[in-house]
């Protein structure tokens, strides 16, 4: 485990090297990766760790983005508070989604009800145009992180990196504890989990709320990244993209989430120069990975070192 923790040494290297190697566009792509890392980590918690087919995460993402945008535009609150508000809003949405799972709506039924919820939210953004400006999108004022104006990709990069590292580390702490074990044990055998004195309903709620908050924060970052929030950023296609990131990286693995988010942000972006190729490639990557690496890209790392196997405790 300690060997795996050396990955953290990479973070300062990344922080120092990337901004000086990349132009404004590449830095934008890296910032998008950081946003999608949180999206995938949050989504994976419900899909991979809790094992519930809930697709409400893209809706949490939109709720986070619109919460931040609306509060900044209409209430003029600082960006830092908008991030906190997005985390809370995402958590509340996560709680609502957990109620459906607790009511015994599972599997395909949970899948379809959460997909419908996502479409409903998109409809709300589209038709709540007095507030959301509908399909024109809601332009946000230039955000500042405390006293740092986020007026170019470089300051955004450092703020996003800080947020991503903190949230991923907190999520990792949570997963490697009695709480993370309770969540995974519910996936593996819900009935026998209760026989160990574990209040299963409570941990289903914890998983959904945490997932919603993480993705809500990603939404607030996304709002700052694109500076104008559109309903189409949270549609069905995006759900597929986010789900693809989870599958390509590896379900139930935090390292996998990071890999999936990076891969499926970078490759389609690269192939955008060949019109039509990016969508095609997106599909091809998912098919190839599912065929040859059903446990995702992280399984390649597991072959190199068993330290990459997802563990639910810390030495």
């Amino acid at each position: 485990m300690s060997r795996l923790q050396r990955i953290y040494y990479l973070i300062p290297v990344v922080a120092l090297v990337i901004p000086f190697m990349a132009n404004e566009y590449l830095l934008w792509v890296v910032n998008a990766m950081l946003v999608y890392i949180l999206v995938t980590v949050g989504f994976n918690l419900v899909i991979g760790n809790l094992g519930q087919l809930a697709f409400a995460n893209t809706a949490f993402f939109g709720i986070g983005a619109y919460t931040a945008a609306i509060l900044m535009v209409y209430a003029g609150i600082p960006y830092v508070l908008a991030i906190v508000a997005s985390a809370v809003a995402g958590g509340v949405a996560g709680f609502l989604a957990s109620v459906t799972a607790l009511r015994g709506i599972r599997l395909y039924y949970l899948a379809i009800i959460t997909l419908a919820f996502g479409e409903l939210m998109r409809w709300v953004y589209l038709h709540g145009d007095k507030v959301t400006r509908g399909s024109d999108g809601l332009q946000i004022p230039q955000p500042s992180f405390f006293w740092i104006p986020l007026d170019s990709e470089m300051p955004k990069f450092y703020v996003f990196l800080l947020l991503t590292v903190l949230v991923v580390k907190a999520t990792s702490n949570l997963m490697r504890s009695r709480i993370g074990r309770a969540i995974v044990s519910i996936r593996d055998n819900e009935a026998s989990t209760a026989s160990l004195g574990i209040h299963t309903a409570r941990y289903i709620v914890v998983a959904f709320v945490w997932s919603g908050s993480v993705v809500g924060i990603a939404g607030a970052m996304f709002a700052a990244l694109i500076e104008r929030v559109f309903p189409e950023s949270f549609g069905l296609t995006e759900i597929i993209v986010h789900f693809g990131m989870v599958l390509v990286g590896g379900t139930g693995s935090i390292v996998g989430s990071v890999l999936g988010a990076i891969t499926l942000t970078a490759l389609p972006e690269y192939f955008r120069q060949f019109p039509g190729m990016d969508e095609l490639l997106f599909g091809v990557i998912i098919v190839l990975v599912l065929l040859f690496l059903p446990k995702g890209l992280v399984s390649l790392l597991c072959r190199i070192s068993p330290a990459f196997n997802e563990r639910y405790y810390r030495e």
Binding site: T193, S195, Y312
Partner: protein
């Protein structure tokens, strides 16, 4: 001696089907109590009713003097009634160690905030749990397979891990649903030996469901016989062996 578990007229009704009818007995600490009966007699239903997985329609159940009827499975378990499952209740993707750690959940005293922020008190509580889980596996000679996912273990090893996980919090009462089914005869004997030791040396009250009559006769102190949901006999092995009603239920003669 005050009984560990008191059942008084416990009945379970599945939409008209009487799965358990008026079952009454007391189970004690340090005693191995076998529950036997033909298929469909209500043995697992009895365990499900005691552990809260199936609501009892009538009657009262008390554990160490406190009522447990109507409580949820996790509440009954937290009070100290722990069980295993006929088809195995392990978490297959987790390692043996992680399974036992999950069994220690209620004993690991770490707060949500402490865990998320990685505070020392939370890390220490986790570390204590980890050390205890390793010790428990070592005690049962399972130390070597501690870090393997349980889905890769043999059936016998899986049973052992499940028993260790169930025992981790030192519960006063253990319900074992067919603990030796699918085990080789030497493993079977070893498991029965462990069960006898847990009752004899640790003073744990054990109830077990078992089909192999020889094991039941040699390994248990008291036998409860169920037939069509009714308790038709209760007593030490010698008495049960000679009980006419039991012979009829099993062999079907008049």
């Amino acid at each position: 001696m005050e009984p560990l578990l008191e059942l008084q007229g416990v009945s379970v009704n599945f939409s008209g089907l009487q799965a358990l009818a008026n079952v009454t007995f007391n189970a004690h600490a340090g005693e191995v109590r076998a529950v036997i009966g033909p298929n469909g007699a209500g043995k697992t239903t009895l365990f499900n009713a005691i552990s809260g997985y199936v609501p009892s329609t009538e009657g009262a159940m008390h554990f160490m003097g406190k009522p447990i009827h109507g409580l949820a499975p996790h509440e009954i378990s937290a009070m100290g009634v722990r069980r295993t499952f006929q088809n195995g209740g392990l978490f297959p993707e987790m390692t043996a160690l992680e399974n036992v750690l999950t069994g220690l959940h209620v004993d690991i005293d770490s707060s949500f905030l402490g865990i998320v922020l990685g505070l020392r008190e939370a890390r220490e509580a986790e570390r204590e749990g980890l050390a205890r889980a390793r010790r428990l596996l070592d005690l049962m000679d399972l130390g070597a397979i501690a870090d393997q996912p349980v889905k890769d273990l043999s059936g016998g090893q899986q049973r052992m891990v499940e028993i260790v996980r169930t025992l981790a919090t030192e519960p006063p009462l253990l319900l074992l649903d067919e603990p030796v089914v699918g085990l080789s005869p030497p493993m079977r004997d070893r498991m029965m030996e462990i069960i006898r030791r847990l009752a004899g040396e640790e003073g744990i009250g054990i109830m077990l469901i078992e089909h192999v009559i020889d094991l039941v006769m040699s390994g248990s102190d008291i036998i409860v016989v169920l037939s069509s949901g009714e308790m038709i006999a209760e007593g030490p092995p010698d008495e049960i062996r000679q009980n006419r009603e039991v012979l009829e239920a099993y062999l079907g003669h008049a």
